[in-house]
Symmetry: C2
Amino acid sequence: MIRPGYLFWSGNRAGPEPENARMSAAEPQIDPKARQESVADAALRQVSEPDSQVVVFPEDQPLRLDSGRDIGPFTIAYRTYGTLNSDKSNAILICHALTGDQHVANTHPVTGKGGWWETLVGPGKPIDTDRFFVICSNILGGCMGSTGPASKNPATGRPYGVEFPVITIGDMVNAQARMIDHLGIGQLFSVIGGSMGGMQVLQWCARYKDRVLTAMPIATAPWHTAQNIAFHEVGRQAVMADPDWQGGAYYGTQARPSRGLAVARMAAHITYLSEKALQDKFGRGLQNRDQHSFSFDADFKIESYLRHQGSTFVDRFDANSYLYITRAMDYFDLEAEYGRLANAFTGTRTQFCVVSFTSDWLYPTRDNKEIVKALNGVAANVSFVEIESDKGHDAFLLREDVFSATVNGFLNAAAKKRGIA
Amino acid sequence: MIRPGYLFWSGNRAGPEPENARMSAAEPQIDPKARQESVADAALRQVSEPDSQVVVFPEDQPLRLDSGRDIGPFTIAYRTYGTLNSDKSNAILICHALTGDQHVANTHPVTGKGGWWETLVGPGKPIDTDRFFVICSNILGGCMGSTGPASKNPATGRPYGVEFPVITIGDMVNAQARMIDHLGIGQLFSVIGGSMGGMQVLQWCARYKDRVLTAMPIATAPWHTAQNIAFHEVGRQAVMADPDWQGGAYYGTQARPSRGLAVARMAAHITYLSEKALQDKFGRGLQNRDQHSFSFDADFKIESYLRHQGSTFVDRFDANSYLYITRAMDYFDLEAEYGRLANAFTGTRTQFCVVSFTSDWLYPTRDNKEIVKALNGVAANVSFVEIESDKGHDAFLLREDVFSATVNGFLNAAAKKRGIA
């Protein structure tokens, strides 16, 4: 008899961490036994009581969305690091990626792991919090304290679910701009982000030209391609196929669409890593066994790794947020919005540094070069760096010396020019 | 209110075929309204009453599997085309891919579409059925008449489900060899197949050296890489996450894991096409609308296409077969089986023609070259052709002149040498 191998939602997930469970070894481990309950509960708490600063925009100051709908009241949860200088010239906004959040450089309140960009952000690091005032907000639509589908819909008193309006990258950026207004900052010294964070950077530069002195769009694209949309659609269908999704109204029930969301995460995760990275790290290596089990167990290390990625993700992330954020990314198309991509940047005085990674097949160098080409088309100040890496898309989250030096060099030069000590 | 976009299992699937639903326009369409009931019923009938020739190996002639288990009785369903000549020297075995079957060059009994390799196989075609006796059998583990998980387990009288033994590519090939014995054929003039079919070709050449005069492994690999396994594992988890899977014992119940299998198919389908093929065919084109719906509907053509691929697949294919066959592919590793890949071919006298396609990222040229390298390592007679195509892995199933000419040229020359009229 074959033992079915659907381990990750069968209650077995408090088992030992797969040997190669994480590509990055830098982060501390939380107790896996304690995780199952506490992580999911802690994640749910963050929706309404985030371990963050928050700003609440009242009902009479709604946000007009790109869809034409208004949302209000709405909350933006954010973290800051360092000190804003007296002329407010040293603020850097960091924009997070699909499953990231505002906890850039502090211990994560849900997972207990380190901040997602501690490789780059902190005292003495390339984005030096001794020098810059670093801000990161949870995106609109997220699940870490900013208003999203898990938040209470004031019209019904229940969580929004699929009553939440479909949002865009532009909406996320408009909400961030309101938060930056709230902080009393006119111009940002820099806006920096990778992947979906890079899309926000581009959208900032298009919509708020005078408010962005320098910009670093990293490992990103000016539009989502058919293949990008295809992978996201698979993930959304996996979530919505899960009966526990319940048409999005799973909040307060005993069930959540964890199985569907885990499958979505597994599929997406493959796109974050290069073929070579997977092969070098896992190859055909077997997990805790010498030979094939002739079953559907996780015989291979790569299977075990993916299942682990799926099961840990669902504890910390809201499935509806996943649907809304992937949709926003799929809608992203600066060329369509401005007629011609270059038009998005007409008149820009922002200084750009565009960064791509050689083995990134999700947003390959080609896509990043489209940005550079458009910026060149309006005679913008732009430098472009393609960094040699075999780590795939996730390279921007990993320790990589040339990347660190690039960020450091770009910001140093610009800070000197701007007169930041 | 957002209308949830999980259209493909909500009873809406008898709707209009998406404009760009199929990459290949050559196949006739069956009536989509009649499809939903009849295709699933017809598919189920094929398990026990296939529209094929069959050979049944009785219980006292079981097949010893690579796992060490025996299976018996077992049935192999197959189709033949053309006539076996008097000295039985003109037989070509075609090996099908993951979701293919024995219906290479005739109307498919379930879908009503043309045979899956009608571009290559037929009278006057590169694999000329006026000249060659062409055989194709449904693989062991399949669902089109050969014994698989949907077949009746003689020990229980019920369908096997997950009681079916986990099989390998080697087991498929051993079962084929028994079928070839049954036909009274000693040596095959050629063994030809693409993708998983190519893996079977390689396994034939390794296990039955004297029985293969020529061989064409196409768009294939000598082992499954970590990324290959990763995509399959996502698909398996999608199936097993579907509550309708019922631990594999869904036969005879009202439910089948159609939602999970559709998600699996959608994810896999992305890997069959190149990024460029998707972009050229679909790009960011919208499906039956002028602007974004701001919902989870299939706004984009690519979404509609993928949903269609998912929904039509589940009608014709058994979910458990999908689990077993993907597992067999993941286990495939000729290097591990023989210690060194070249050892698999030691002493071979087979003449090989290895074919790859430039834009195939599932089994890229690199993997196919490993086969060539190993064959060169034992001084085998091997030619290698890399065909320029932007269609991705599925190029081997599409009309492609250089590919047709390659197959035609290779077989012609070998037939002349062998004295086949």
